[in-house]
Amino acid sequence: MNILVCITHVPDTTSKIQFTDNNTKFDTTGVQFIIGPYDDYALARAVELRDQTGGKLTVLNVGGAETEPTLRKALAIGADEAIRVNSDPKDSFFVAKQIAHYAKEGGFDLILMGRESIDFNGGMVHGMVGEILGMPSFSPVMKLDVDGTNVSMQREIEGGKENLEASLPLIAGCQEPIAEWKIPNMRGIMSARSKPMNVVDPVGDETHAEAKSYTLPAAKADVKLVDPDNVSELVSLLKNEAKVL
């Protein structure tokens, strides 16, 4: 099976979020970048499926040269080759266009990615790629098994899950517990150095939306502590002060 996994290059989940340049740019000072946690699940499942069925696993990122270490890590985890679409994407539509173009060129049977990136949290790219390519798209997918061209999936819905049957080719936005995250071993890290890193140009420049400036939430006031022997005080605060009961 020929599998494409699209990954994001995002700040580690423990990063302090700050902005510079008059709140128009993300401040990368001291920030560690990682493969998006949801993308990491997608990649882990893709490695398992490639190992089961044979074939090739390609990993793709739309981004600048600074994302290459993240792509290398995906190669170390088990992808066979990487594509970096060299650009500074402004919105999910642009990213979806790039992925759709290179996915079509690559003739992939299965396209996986995380349910959403953890920077912009849009969760829209998989659906857009699906619509552009005329392929079904599913998200958030928590289980995915392939038997020939039949795919059985489990999708999370509010308060439960939905079981689905579909056929390849398809696109899925993944989340836990689709697979366990894989940690690259020494052999993987060594072999990643010699795997192909293809840098390609973006196609078209159409965008629909652009983040112009950023703000942080208002600082939270100090917590009001209530004595454990006087819980009715809490009830009255919730009712009369916070007005949430």
Partner: protein
Amino acid sequence: MSVLVYIEHADGQVKKTSLEAISFANELAEKTGEGDVVAVALGSIDSGALASAGSAGADKVMHASDDKLTAGVIQAHASAVAAAFNQSGAKTVVMAKSSLADAVAARLAIKINAGLVSNVVELPNTDGGYTVKRSIYTGKAFAETSLDTENKILAIKKNAADLKTDGADAQVEAFDAGVSDSDFAAKITSTDRATGDVLLPEADIVVSGGRGMKGPENWGMIEDMASTLGAATGCSKPVSDIGWRPHHEHVGQTGIKVAPSLYIAVGISGAIQHLAGVNSSKCIVVINKDPEAPFFKAADYGIVGDAFDVVPKLTEALKAEL
């Protein structure tokens, strides 16, 4: 012109989050002069229940009652909403984020060539442009996003609008969703949904437990408090990882993000990944025996004490009050 709202329903009722989306659209239409608010509903539901969407601010409901649309097949819903969009002459589509709406919105954006902004937290600013405030970095920041397209889709977060409840009944009209067999290529074989309970992503009050609960056998007191409050129950990631609670209760960065009026955390230390899932809550109460638990810094109210002592007492006090 009109603003189109994609609404969802469950158990014969329009979802509350969809009613909020209608109210949002109502305020939007007033602001931009886009005219009527038209809701689009798919699948089997009583037209009386749909007419009541008028209370939230819908003028009209377009209904494709084909029973094949009742289950939320993503492609079919995207096609049907696109058909409604074209028939209604709307330029803007509003929907409340959900596992189905998100998937539909993305495909719809391509079908109708619309710019799409997700996690919208308030009405757009239309002074000399069209700028939408959206939540980013999992609630840790906001972005002012300019939207440059003629057609627009706004997927709104919970609490983005106040629910209007005083509108007159809406007029319900059938429409042809124009779906084809290929839209149903994917088959939903079964759904496994907790019934009767309050659904976590939509709940107004959430009571969550963490490792401080010591074991799944102690969840009775969490559930007692939740049922007293009409709340949904949630848990931290370690708790769902060990299997004490099902995955769909996991609240946090990689789990469910909630935005209730009241979030009560019991025995949860407050790792940054958990906070990312709750930082849109209006009011946070933390109960933890460790006064150094980082969650207290994110809380409005706190009790430093043993959950096994505090929780039953608090439930009793709540019962007495409510």
